[in-house]
Symmetry: C2
Subunit: 253 residues, 2 copies
């Protein structure tokens, strides 16, 4: 039993950067890296018996409350990356899952931390993790340096530098018929122009998922740039904030 | 030499349906299947020494003029598919590449044919294939049943059933800074509502790429439904047609 537990605590999966996983610069894009980590989390959850599918049968689902990213050098098309994940902390209702993304020579590509809740799909209220998943506290693996948790972003946007509206269509929604989490991030990055991506590197990102977005809803995105290297974005639906993100950037010289 | 040629004529690559490759029904979406086939074509081109990268060094690039799809039963998340591709025909300037997508028990998932040109990136004019790629005619593998070529779609849309406009942002463009081919298809499918995907199966699709679309351009998409099971769509930029598609559907009973 002890051995088995050790074996499933840390999980990894390999990805080849497919042609369309890169952006126009030829490097892996942030939302596509986000796809890899969510996919790996899903595979680990299957291994642990707590997949979306299993929870759905009990009227429950996982929701993500936030992400913190630190990016090193992004890989190019056809390179392989390894995503390693573990549960690094748990409270009564929130579970922290860390990811390390590495390249073929073990070079660091990204470190990501995420926080998850299990909610009742009808009441939309969180449930106690150990009631759904009794062994959860035994799975925590925190013997290594922890990746910092996402910042709770509390800014409001007064004088946006850029604004846009979009409507949520078929390709944006996931199996729960909500806006797929990485699409929040993709639409946010779509606010920046091509020169931004050519001339700047995103070093860190903090992401707060505040409210689910439904099919056919109209979203508005606003960005402000309070310091030269900091970009803050907010997504709203009918004036109510559903998502915030903050990016720390540096110039590419 | 003969042996080597036989070995590279037919190429295949495996894909696991990642979490975000499915649509809200839990099945692989058409644009994501399109990603797999383009990725496999890219890998085959690398093997043959005619990758995008190699062509780019000569001021050339591949462009796709059309696709024909036939869909059988789409796989679900975590299933594996094998994409097999070959060059099935070549004229002086156009090359036909076929794909067969199969599941773990060799069941057919899709058959796809595609047509490609090599163009000069400055003049945007096609070049003679055998000048860039002298061995191309020796690589044709047409000993099996051929997959039919895409239809040239010549309809015009008078009274659209649905209309929408979208702007081309960062996440839509490829390494050539043009609209990525599968995004034409994704934006077209985004015109349909969720009930359409629940109640209808797309059996066949013909796709015509007419003109490249650039970053920041505004596109308009219109759909007509001339027969109960046929949907025709047109994408325009400043009133000029850039893309057409026709879908043959059947009701899911």
């Amino acid at each position: 039993m002890e051995k088995k537990l050790e074996m499933v605590k840390v999980f990894n999966n390999k990805y080849r950067i497919n042609y369309n996983d890169s952006d126009y610069t030829g490097k892996l894009s942030i939302p596509k890296l986000g796809n890899y980590i969510l996919d790996t989390a899903g595979l680990h959850a299957i291994e642990l018996g707590i997949s979306m599918q299993t929870l759905a049968e009990q009227g429950l689902t996982w929701v993500m409350s936030g992400l913190h990213f630190e990016f090193f050098d992004m890989p190019r098309v056809n390179q392989e990356v390894l995503v390693t994940t573990k549960i690094s902390d748990c409270s009564k209702i929130a579970c922290k899952r860390d990811f390390i993304v590495t390249g073929p020579n073990n070079e660091k590509i990204a470190e990501v931390s995420s926080e998850w809740l299990i909610i009742n799909t009808l009441t939309r209220r969180p449930v106690f993790l150990n009631e759904v998943f009794p062994g959860v506290f035994d799975l925590i693996e925190n013997n290594e340096k922890e990746i910092e948790k996402y910042k709770h972003l509390r800014f409001s946007i007064q004088n946006p530098k850029m604004s846009a509206t979009r409507k949520i269509t078929y390709s944006f929604i996931d199996i729960n018929t909500h806006l797929y989490s990485m699409k929040y991030l993709e639409m946010t990055l779509d606010m920046f122009d091509l020169d931004f991506f050519k001339n700047n590197k995103i070093k860190k990102a903090d992401v707060n998922f505040i409210k689910e977005v439904l099919y056919n809803q109209q979203i508005e995105i606003n960005i402000q740039n309070p310091e030269p290297e900091i970009f803050q974005t907010e997504m709203t639906v009918e004036g109510k904030c559903v998502f915030r993100a903050e990016f720390e950037t540096s110039k590419i010289i």
